[in-house]
Amino acid sequence: MSKKMLSGPYLLWMIGFIIIPLALIVYYGLTDKNNVFTLANVLSIATAEHSKALWLSLGLSFASTLICLVLAYPLAMILRNRQMGQGSFIVFIFILPMWMNFLLRTLAWQTLLEKSGVINGILTALHLPTQSLINTPGAIVLGMVYNFLPFMVLPIYNTLCKIDDNTINAARDLGANFTQTLLWVWFPLSVPGVISGITMVFVPALTTFVISNLLGGSKILLIGNVIEQEFTKGSNWHLGSGLSLVLMVFILLSMALIAKYDKNGEGSAF
């Protein structure tokens, strides 16, 4: 009995801040202005503008996830092979910027990338050609990679740390070269971390609207922007909720993916 009492606050928390808001989104998403049931909000994802925004979001978040993975995996391996203290110090350095609000860091990128920004200032001083990344999809991908990279590194690093050195040594003993060890030992054992990392980068990248606003100059419409505008500017909460429901499908998919590959929660980031 007393154990059950202890879970009370968490239960209230979950009902108040997860279940009820979700139920409201479902309610708004499936009704129209007169509170009559409709599927129109959800189906409106098929309109040219919405589906284009969704595909663009999927494309950009896929690209950022891939780049994060390619960057994070070698880094995680290097970190793992460092001595204990050294490795965790580098991880600490890695997490340090996350203590600052990510909006500020994204704003900083804006200042860096601008036409008359810091990077171009340095390039001009060195008589090098200037870059014009700001307000392009490339800048958005850069922002996503920068912001979400730690979410890829940490779970992979954690699973790699859990791999017993003896497993690796055994593979070497049996004559596997580096590539073979990587492909057949390291990678399969780290799949839970990789999957967890992919989800933790893909989902926020898919739903972001701030990064695309700040670094895309609002010229590039992602599905997150569409939803945000329906709430803050369009006064159409029903449509915004309907589109959120569509996005939720992708989030549920990735949760299913985690459940399948990361049964023991090995890949959890923290």
């Binding site: 284009k52 925004a53 100059g217 803050t232 500017k233 369009g234």
Partner: protein, 374 residues
């Protein structure tokens, strides 16, 4: 009208107002409570205003003078404010929406008539602006103007010279291909369409589908030339020399002129009202029907109309004041600043936004989405 805070607080405020709008008990926005408990015997006043839209000393002064405790909350957009008032989760006593939103609230029977016997300082407001207000409040029953302004083109004289382009005089000039990548447009539906509609010689309050389709096509054609769609960043980007021209609210001009001097920039930023006419906007105090402290709200409005108070607010916000008394208190230099206080003749062809109804609003929103996703 305009919001300096930008999207940064958007997420939090949206989250909170969601809760509030859905019948939760959470107060919307960042509740900045001030005043002392002991003052509560004179009652309370719930004020709902734009971010950075008042000199905060004025609030304290009001509390000291009247003993009324002010609970001061902020909103970011008219659209975000509306559902909060509609749901009545917090009974705000006095709110400061823009023109078209006042009309929407009035039409939906959400506003209380102001008892002008309690607002003697209304005489300080230049009748010109009461006239302007009739666009959204035909009998001047519901609203008292607080700030007003225009939308115009800000241009960088040096950059235009380098590009070999003459200074802009009309909206049409924002379609000049030589300005590719040098244009900053406003990132809001009505403002963006206003530019295109005015360029084509239509009313910015049109609901005519052919006119809107043409405006949409114009905006799509213009998009490759646009560097970015921004709201408050126009100011800083123009000061930083990021772009050659930008669509901007006149209230930013004082800050810009000051900054250009302080930084000793080697270029000038000039403001022009396009000859086709522009958006004249007014933000006014209104009292929602569900207000609990109506008399206190009237005291607040009266206080805001007091010339010295209006002057203090003008100096803080830098958006033009409709208060004649306050205008007379300004020095001659400021009074003659045409960027802030334009001549009536320059406003020919300008209009005030009106509320077009939810259906037309959603047509605008959909067309804007087409522009954005193109």
């Amino acid at each position: 009208m305009k919001k300096r805070f930008f999207a940064l607080t958007m997420t939090t405020v949206t989250a909170v107002s969601l809760l509030a709008g859905c019948g939760g008990k959470a107060p919307a926005g960042d509740s900045a409570q001030s005043g002392t408990e002991s003052a509560s015997d004179s009652g309370e006043l719930y004020v709902y205003n734009w971010g950075e839209y008042i000199d905060e000393d004025v609030i304290t002064q009001f509390e000291d003078e009247t003993g009324i405790k002010v609970i001061y909350d902020l909103f970011e957009t008219n659209e975000e404010m509306y559902p909060v008032i509609e749901a009545g989760a917090v009974n705000y006593d006095v709110v400061c929406p823009s023109d078209y939103m006042i009309q929407k609230m009035r039409e939906n029977d959400m506003l209380a008539e102001i008892n002008f016997d309690n607002v003697p300082n209304i005489s300080q407001i230049d009748p010109k602006y009461m006239e302007m207000s009739k666009a959204f409040d035909p009998d001047n029953q519901y609203s008292v103007p607080y700030c007003w302004g225009t939308v115009g083109i800000l241009y960088n004289t040096k950059r235009l010279e380098e590009l070999g382009v003459d200074a802009p005089t009309s909206w049409e000039d924002l379609w000049d291909e030589r300005l590719s990548g040098e244009i900053l447009m406003q990132d809001s539906v009505r403002d963006a369409f206003m530019v295109a509609l005015k360029k084509d010689g239509y009313s910015m309050n049109t609901a005519n589908e052919t006119e809107l389709a043409q405006a949409k096509q114009d905006l799509i054609d213009q998009k490759p030339l646009v560097q970015a769609y921004v709201v408050d960043q126009v100011r800083d980007k123009m000061i930083g020399g990021e772009a050659a021209v930008g669509v901007i609210y006149s209230g930013e001009m004082l800050y810009i002129q000051e900054e250009v001097q302080n930084l000793g920039l080697d270029y000038n930023l000039e403001y022009v009202l396009p000859k086709e006419g522009t958006n004249l906007w007014v933000d006014s105090w209104v009292i929602p029907k569900n207000a609990k402290n109506k008399e206190n709200a009237e005291k607040w409005i009266d206080f805001m109309c007091r010339p010295e108070i209006a002057k203090a607010n003008f100096e803080y916000i830098t958006y033009p004041t409709p208060n004649k008394g306050a205008f007379d208190l300004l020095d001659a230099d400021m009074q003659g600043n045409k960027s802030v206080f334009p001549d009536d003749a320059d406003l020919a062809g300008s209009e005030v936004f009106t509320y077009l109804g939810d259906d037309v609003d959603s047509i605008y929103n959909n067309l804007w989405k087409e522009v954005k996703s193109n």
